[in-house]
Symmetry: C2
Subunit: 306 residues, 2 copies
């Protein structure tokens, strides 16, 4: 079987490379620590060469921070509402080392304003696999910067970013709440307690309670080793509370979630506390999205129905 | 005029020492960088010796983190509601280097739970100077960990901590919102814009908007040099929004603020956006509080009416 496409998911901290066969199946993938903020000596070109080393010369498509202002080539955003199938027509070619790298544009929701780079390709991947989602859906991509995305009639209509994961890391490691001396133990009960505290904070919000991650320890009511799980619950709980309060989602909606298994499991447990229905979307959505966009852009010579 | 008392305001990062005359006036004060987390070689005793070097042997009273678990001697909290004049009876003596250091206990609001160490002395100082405040008042002590304190009939009835200043530092310096390359310029308009964004976030809260500190820059709608002021407005605005939503204060209340002038000025501007009445309390409240408590504890041999 012949290879047909190379796809790059090139973020801030990581570069992931996929080699696709003609059916759109990933036959090999590699992960390098060379995100756009962690380039090797030799810069972007060197990182790219390492990622595709030994692979045949193929069309290349790339998404993520590689197209940002601090990336290899700044590619303008597409403004919402935007049909996902417009991504293919908006690829920007970059000629580098004898290759043409086709960079997927990010999206901008000018009403907030808000932006994404990379997640638009995940959305394309989800919709490629689920026609029902393309008609109308709400997607949640949890992570360092969680994204809440509304989709209707194949278009991203609006979205919002919440810095949940980043805030969690800052509070856990670098704040007065940090218990860096203590090894952290898994404590699902502490997580649940954090989620409940966030829900009960009501319109005031979790920031009015976050200092409790310290005072509960001082009070002997929370083990130092459980602070991380409690904080995780507080922050994920706050994200859900906020999404409901801001109207990004309402009770009764089904939200499809795309992310790492362990993180999605936390969101599922938190969503139960709020009575919110969360489902997990298919895996490998970035690879699916890259393939879909490349096919629509006719980068792949023998389109399939995958 | 003879000296009568040494007062120590001993926090996490700083040690401030006051020498009082018999009228309770501060005749000399010193500030050392030796908070309980930044002790010199020789530890607490050495820091103390440096602070009082050359001063006569006098009764010593101390408040702040010096009485915490990581302080010189852990002094139990008094639980709210607690009459401020009970602090004097609850001093804990520490014998060190030929001195007796009388440590003021912190307060605990077990209902949240929440704690303070040092601020109780500021509250005592405010109430000593204002009988009206002692009857009923709301105090705001803005800072790294802002405190909202409710007072009735000379007692602290409840209080809450908000990590506004700490969160501001983390987001400004260590997050994806950081614009460390850009020198920050004073931009009152960006501050105001941040306050308004926090107010308009409604029940969802400022965390739903905080990523805008980045996207507004990407959009060319906010100068990188103004990000710090915008963030400052978002966070102080969120603190006020939250205080109103949580019922710590309501429109029409007069809130007395105790803190550094520049920070208080920011809170005053933000409070205007919310239609909230903030007034500034007298200065030197910690020194006033230390003197009051020492006098009530009869550490000072010739009580005055100050």
């Amino acid at each position: 079987m012949t290879s047909a496409l190379i796809g790059l998911d090139w973020g801030s901290t990581r570069l992931r490379a996929y080699r696709f066969d003609e059916q759109g199946q990933v036959v090999e993938s590699r992960t390098l620590p060379h995100g756009v903020r962690r380039l090797p000596e030799g810069g972007f070109l060197k990182a790219f060469a390492l990622a595709v080393d030994g692979w045949p010369s193929l069309p290349v498509i790339a998404c993520g921070m590689v197209g940002s202002r601090n990336g290899w080539l700044e590619v303008p955003y597409l403004d919402t509402p935007v049909a996902v199938d417009r991504l293919a027509a908006a690829l920007t070619p970059l000629v580098a080392g004898g290759h043409i790298i086709h960079i997927v544009p990010g999206l901008r929701d000018a009403s907030r304003p808000d932006v994404m780079r990379g997640e638009e390709t995940q959305v394309a991947g989800v919709l490629a696999q689920s026609p029902a989602s393309a008609r109308e859906s709400r997607l949640l991509l949890p992570g360092t910067h969680s994204k809440w995305v509304s989709v209707r009639d194949g278009a991203v209509t609006s979205f919002a970013t919440v810095m949940t994961g980043e805030l969690y890391g800052l509070l856990r490691d670098d704040s007065a709440l940090s218990t860096s001396q203590s090894e952290q133990a898994d404590d699902p009960q502490a997580f649940h307690r954090g989620v409940v505290a966030a829900r009960e904070s009501g319109g005031a919000g979790m920031l009015s309670r976050v200092f409790s991650a310290r005072t509960l320890v001082l009070n002997g009511a929370l083990a130092p080793s459980s602070v991380a799980d409690y904080l995780s619950g507080l922050l994920i709980g706050e994200e859900l509370r906020m999404a409901l309060a801001a109207g990004w989602v309402k009770l009764g909606d089904m939200v499809q979630m795309v992310g790492e298994d362990a993180l999605c499991a936390r969101y599922l447990r938190a969503a139960e506390v709020f009575g919110l229905a969360l489902g997990t979307a298919p895996q490998d959505t970035t690879a699916r999205g890259l393939w879909r966009i490349a096919r629509e852009a006719a980068l792949v010579s023998h389109p399939t129905t995958t």
